[in-house]
């Protein structure tokens, strides 16, 4: 928490969640409860979500809404939206102390920045700026927004909150793991395939949920060919060449809308980028092709909250967002046909690695075969262990610096 989550840019949320002045949401960076608030001048601030008085959290985790001022429900202190003290009940008695109206109240976190609507915060003030930190991953995030005909995405359609009983790193690794889907998800795939075959035989349409699940069972060669990239700070993409999302039935209406907004060639180019999973280490995994973001919130060494947020592409037909919703319901839900099997794997990894007599795990596949791409990422075949070596190189570097 103090060596990695306090030092890195952490995904806080999206611009569209706090459209107007006073709009806020409560989240966390590592152990710190954080309030993200739209200011009256339109800027965004991230403040520690604890009263300056006795430290009570002002708004519970996950809270969202709109306020004119911030209020502590314990002793009634109030704050301006920018965190300055507004009123203190029975002020007399604080003369000669650091507390007075207008004085600093709620501390701002070290740094806040946003890129194309995605808001990131960092507890530590010093460190790389957001764009340098994103590095080659910018193109993955760009693709998320470029897919919107109006060049803007908005949060929509509710949040899934999936509590995992395992360390956060298993999730971060697994989303780039191209050698597990055909094994861990084979039962879901087998049944989805059967249903798909039946529907096709009867000349009936195939529900999108089946189209979403079937590619998880694609052969090793498919996952190897999709490629992977690793970038500085532990970031990575699985599927920089193709992905499990590449084969979906095309949506003509959407393609036409995107083409009229950006030109046909550009639209084709945007849709040809279909990165399976992109990880901005350590706090976010996103899927540009299905417009969703999964946020990693570590709670304890063996407990992690995974939130799935969904995005509507402005200017795109409703159909496209329906796919995002259908994908997430069948794959990412706590009651889904995919997520619970990954979760069992994480729990057993946690158990397996509790033992002390074997210090090693094997991340040796395809050593040293990466080549630099034009954006400065290292690229290699999809089933390489390079993406994990890259994550753990970042992990190791963060861990070896003195704790802040």
């Amino acid at each position: 928490m103090s060596r990695i989550f306090a030092r890195s840019w952490i995904y806080l949320g999206h611009d569209s969640q706090i459209a107007d002045p006073g709009c806020f949401f409560a989240t966390q960076i590592g152990r710190e409860p954080v309030l993200v608030i739209r200011q009256t001048d339109g800027s965004i601030r991230a403040l520690l979500n604890r009263c300056a008085h006795k430290g009570m959290q002002l708004c519970p985790d996950g809270a969202t809404g709109k306020k004119r001022l911030l209020h502590c429900g314990y002793h009634g202190w109030t704050y301006h939206l920018d965190g300055r003290v507004r009123t203190v009940p029975v002020e007399q008695g604080y003369e000669g102390t650091c507390v007075s109206r207008g004085s600093a109240g709620l501390s701002a976190i070290g740094a806040i920045a946003h890129y194309r609507g995605f808001i990131f915060g960092r507890l530590q003030a010093e460190g790389p700026d957001l764009l340098s930190w994103l590095g080659p991953m910018r193109s993955s995030l760009d693709n998320f927004v470029d897919r919107a005909p109006e060049d803007r995405v908005v949060v929509a359609g509710g949040v899934l909150r999936y509590l995992h009983h395992a360390n956060w790193k298993f999730f971060a690794e697994n989303t780039l793991d191209a050698l597990h889907p055909m094994v861990v998800h084979q039962s879901a795939v087998a049944q989805a395939r059967k249903a798909q075959a039946q529907r096709t035989e009867q000349g009936l349409d195939v529900p999108f949920e089946l189209q979403a699940v079937v590619p998880f069972g694609a052969p090793y060669s498919f996952f190897n060919d999709m490629g992977q990239r690793g970038a500085p700070f532990g970031h990575g993409d699985l599927g920089n060449r193709s992905s499990i999302h590449s084969g979906y039935e095309s949506q003509q209406e959407y393609f036409q809308t995107l083409s009229s907004a950006r030109g046909e060639e550009q639209a084709r180019q945007i849709l040809s980028i279909s990165r399976n999973n992109s990880v901005l280490y350590p706090s976010i995994m996103f899927k540009a092709p299905v417009s969703l973001v999964r946020v990693i919130k570590p709670l304890a060494v063996d407990r992690t909250l995974i939130e799935t947020w969904h995005f509507r592409l402005c200017g795109a037909p409703d159909d496209l967002f329906h796919r995002t919703v259908q994908y997430s319901t069948i794959v990412n839900s706590s009651a889904g046909a995919v997520g619970p099997d990954d979760h069992v794997a994480y729990q057993r990894l946690q158990r397996g690695l509790q033992g002390q007599l074997n210090d090693w795990v094997l991340l040796a596949r395809y050593p040293g075969q990466e080549t630099a791409d034009e954006e400065g990422a290292l690229s290699t075949q999809g089933t390489s262990d390079f993406v994990y070596r890259n994550q753990f190189a970042a992990w190791s570097e963060y861990m070896q610096q003195d704790a802040s």
Partner: protein, 159 residues
Amino acid sequence: MTADWQCVQRFLTEEARLLDTGDWDRWLALFATDGMYWMPVSPGQTDPLNHVSLIYDDAILRQMRCKRFGDRSESGALSLQPAPRCMRMITNLEIQTEPGRVTAQASVIFAQYAQPTVSTYYARVAWDLREQADSYLIQRKRVDLLNSDGPLSDILAYL
């Protein structure tokens, strides 16, 4: 207490028993072909298309899921080996009848034992039932978990 109430009570107890014992084929047959099973995420959620759900299954997806639940082979799902054991308790049943149709509402407690943990879920459940011969067909079953929008761990069955 009317005969209708007792009939619905008997029907829902039978449904719970089929789920408790994993008699998937007979459970699937309780639904109308265009019937839906819905477990929303947000309280009061009215839209399953523009808003994510925990489960939103038509007949095709119900069959896919039940086959997965029933797969006891080596390649069966990690999360379903060994098979979770479940128990459903239905209480506070109230019904409204119209000619040919019944709407039932109940509080349901669902316990799931997936080794080594027992998880308990609480829900308000609503069934839209169509009269069919001397029984009913489920037109829609809506399961509103008490904590549907909160952090949830695995739900490994239909409630």
